[in-house]
Amino acid sequence: MESMLISPAKFIFFGFLPGWVLSLSLLIIGLGVFTYIIWKRILPIKNASPDNSRLDRIPERIVKLAKLWFLQARHPRYPFVGILHILIFFGFLILSVRTGSLSVIGIFENFELPGLAYNQPLGQVYNIIKDYTATIVFFTCLIAAVRRSLFKPARYNVPEKYGHDHTLEAVFVLAIIMGLMISESIFEAAAASAGNDGHTPQLTLVWMFSEILNGSSHGMLQKTHLVSYFFHDALFFFFLCFLPMGKHFHVITSVFNVFFMRIDKGNIKPVVYGVNDEGLDDLESFGVKKIEDFTWKHMLDFYSCADCGRCSDHCPANAAGRPLSPRFISIKCRDFLFRKYPVIGKPSNNRELIGSVLEKDEIWSCTTCGACEEECPLLIEYIDKIVDVRRGFVDDGNVPQSLQKPLGALEKRGNPWGKMEKKRADWAKDEDFSKDYTVKILGRKESADTLYFVDSISSYDDRMQDIARATARLLSDSGIDYGILGKLEKDSGHEVRRFGEEMLFQDLKDNNTEAILNSGVKNIVTADPHAYNALKNDYANLPPVVHISEVIERKVKTGDIRLKEIEDKSRVYTFHDPCYLGRHNELYAPPRAVIDAVPGIKRIDMKKSGDRSFCCGGGGLMLFYEPEEEQRMGVLRVGMAKEAGANVIVTACPFCLVNIEDAIKVAGMEGEMNAIDLTELIDRHVIRE
């Protein structure tokens, strides 16, 4: 084969330099430089904080890897560009075999991979597939390049404060890939045109180039053959070494990043992996203060960010104009790592992170809604990083004044408003409520099967006490034997932990755990998704915890709760998924099933719903934080409900209700839009004899 032309390996350049020497040199230099760069990239990872949680549950990891990396499961969430990526991704997988063997062919001209030789059936099939693949990859990259440079989708914009535009880097890499596809095809085409019996499958690049080259002189074909080979070879090694210099590092790191992904949802990383709650007092420092305080996995995240902007596209803080864009958390930290650990030269001693790379307001702006993490095709984590930086802030006393009061009150009174402990159960003393219902306060005298964990906002806030009372009525009507902890209950500490005050969280957790275990209950129910998430994912060794929507769903099915026709048939309902019910705990179906159980109700979903739900503005301590923002998240959310054609927003979280009710007022939509909690909606429609 290719007998008519001298192969790149055998050709003697300038009368003395055999082609194989050139190929071998390229291979050695290419791999050498690549190894050196990777070594430099591993240096900070070696200095990073430990994380021993990434090598457990291997079978589960393999399944996730197959789904999320190999099958690219998250890409079709953005259908057009997702499919482009899937084509390029599979193209790379298929062509890596060819590229690998091609660089050896330049040394040993007859090199063939076992089983994939030209004269073997599998080899022949592979050769046809790879020609079509190269063609598809070429045109996909062309479309991608046109999309990036001419259509410029808004989510790639780089706001001025984050530096220059990234289009050039993206298009440059696409051009390299196209160059690789073209040169490989020309190399093949020249050989084919010179009379070898290789394939030139119809409509492939090889076919096109061989059509062009047919009839060219032998010398011309020989030159084309050689130039295209060495161009491809050099370009390939350049590409390989260029990958770890920017966003295309993900081509190499993605498989590791997805394999080492965070499997559990809803919880927060420990302060330091390997240090249990009892050991926290002995730690010198808490949280992230310098870049090396991030864990090795978090550094791998920085390296793996492909700058695709999907996180920020779904970040409610970003949408509201707060100074946070998750994409740039990754990009800024990556660039800082690159600067601090340069490819050439020694690592610098630069310890500055806060104020020069990350900003205080940026870090406090996050509501930990999880939209960014849900979207990231590379499974990059943000919440743990943000919480870790906040832990550093808290450790240094660097806490916004607006948060210091509620934190102080939580420490002294167990609730962020500093209300009296003994008034925690006063919501049950309401006249209208208490004439028909009594709520047991668990303790020495009273016991029950089920604990209703009310949490602070539903205990103390005038409006949200309605949720507590509705929940209590529903529990009573369902015949559940339940009680509350009363003054023994403290705030669940859900946001206390997420705002970085770990030790206060530990105190609250220990307090509640003791009270719950002493009460002797067999299970726990709550109507507050933040409490639900805390008890389920942050606490340990508690009886099973369910959200009220799960209880209602069950009781409607068993017939213990019967519902009457919807009060107002003219209204259109929509369900706003609370972040800590939906994304963090995947309870999307129960609340919807409960709403749909009301006869005659008309329910539609907003465009952003389910795992793409848009945060209302954040719960817990976020109610106290005064962010810089152009717009309230809640106002944006109310607009989305209106756009969907709904006029009642049903939610299942007291914080969502606070934010959305406020937003309706701010947006001036009182009268045309209403908000109601799921428990209130059902409570109003229960048939009571």
Binding site: K405, G408, R413
Partner: protein
């Protein structure tokens, strides 16, 4: 620069429901939670920032009972180097002058360049700073919202004047300043910070340590005696709105509309 800050443990008005007790001479203290007087927190933060800038040390001192130790620890967790608790049964019931005399005795045991107090306390009379300067015979500036160290013997301070005006003064050291809130942003002290200083020793100085005769301070020495304590009766025109927050707001708007406050 050696800085001393006088602090006080007070019931936090925002986290308590203050009620007068049955005998009418004090408030009901059973369910109270306490914290550092807010103004004092600003004073300690300012002292720490000054020390970090020019060197020296920060000592926090309080007159109180054993439980007052917790506020000293909190301020030490913020970054104060030393804490001293001035406590003696004889101190109980001191009036402003008595407290000042106790503080003076402690101050004279050391050598301080700068003495800071809060401008006032939640439950106080705003009198300590001025009295202290007077009996120590040193310069005094009140309601200070800016401090700049000029040299070893001189500082420049800004004072907040009614109507939002600002006044600048130069003072010779040593001097006493009473600190206004807003001079800085006091740092947060978490449980972890307090635990870190939990084992540091805090000396307790009583009347004999300070060389004070027991009858000159405390209830015995007090020349100002509290005779009554009550929530004033509603005067003419005063009205307390009842109901839920929404109802209260509605009534409030009605009243404002009715009286022409809003249209």
């Amino acid at each position: 620069m050696e800085i001393l800050v006088c602090v006080k443990r007070v019931p936090d008005t925002s986290e308590n429901e203050i009620e007068v007790n049955s005998n009418g001479a004090d408030i009901e203290r059973d369910d109270l939670v306490y914290s550092v007087n807010e103004w004092d927190n600003y004073a300690v933060e300012e002292a720490i920032q000054l020390r970090d800038k020019v060197g020296g040390s920060v000592t926090v001192v309080t007159v109180g009972d054993d439980e007052s130790e917790e506020v000293l620890r909190r301020e030490m967790a913020m970054g104060a180097d030393k804490g001293v608790l001035l406590s003696d049964d004889a101190f109980t019931g001191s009036d402003g002058m008595g407290t000042t005399a106790i503080l003076k005795a402690e101050i004279e045991k050391g050598k301080y360049d700068l003495i800071l107090t809060g401008a006032q306390a939640d439950d106080g009379a705003g009198q300590i700073g001025g009295m202290l300067a007077s009996i120590l015979d040193v310069p005094y500036a009140s309601l200070v919202n800016y401090i700049e160290v000029l040299d070893e013997n001189k500082i420049k301070v800004g004072r907040e004047i009614e109507g939002g005006n600002q006044e600048m003064n130069e003072l010779n050291l040593p001097c006493v300043l009473s600190i206004q809130t807003g001079i800085n942003e006091p740092r947060y002290v978490g449980i972890r910070g307090i635990r870190k200083v939990a084992k540091l020793e805090i000396p307790i100085h009583g009347a004999s340590d300070l060389g004070i005769s027991a009858d000159s301070v405390g209830a015995a020495g007090a020349r100002v005696k509290r005779v009554d304590y009550f929530v004033p009766d509603f005067g003419e025109g005063a009205e307390i709105l009842e109901g839920s927050t929404d109802e209260k707001i509605e009534k409030m708007i009605e009243i404002l509309k009715a009286k022409g406050g809003i249209k």
